[in-house]
Symmetry: C2
Subunit: 99 residues, 2 copies
Amino acid sequence: MKTTIRHQVIFCLKAGTSGGSAEAFLRDGRTLLSAIPGVTNFSAYRQVSTKNDYDFGFSMDFADQATYEAYNAHPSHVAFVRDRWVPEVSRFLEIDFKE
Amino acid sequence: MKTTIRHQVIFCLKAGTSGGSAEAFLRDGRTLLSAIPGVTNFSAYRQVSTKNDYDFGFSMDFADQATYEAYNAHPSHVAFVRDRWVPEVSRFLEIDFKE
């Protein structure tokens, strides 16, 4: 098994949050989160399957579990969760893949 | 928006199905599905987040919607769904990402 972890989250945004459009949320997420050390292959997506009820997704890769944990604890991640995720996201599902 | 679609499915396997081990299911899925024309970047994963209740995942990319639809209709995909997926998978969630 490779140690690389593909971390993904699929989510919906609340209507009319102060952060503005979905485009702004996706853009800001990409800018802030992809700059955190150890984050590779960051992508922000529209979730287009009609077979689930989520609208957007972020995906990123970490070389190993320690890098993933450092990301979770990084001040930029903590601030993004506090200032944008909690106020603007209505619901979400996290998915972590290992080969 | 790129036209590339990242198609993913996360799933759980029934216990004690005739197909044998999870490893066999993942290996056969990879062999059969990755050989279908238009499938790129196929990966079979363990889903390791404790924040959802799925155990495995497949991920693949399609260049566009027509290629995705051709995959869905391809005899190898139809046969895999009929002969392995329906008998062996207990529940699943499909996720389709577009940038």
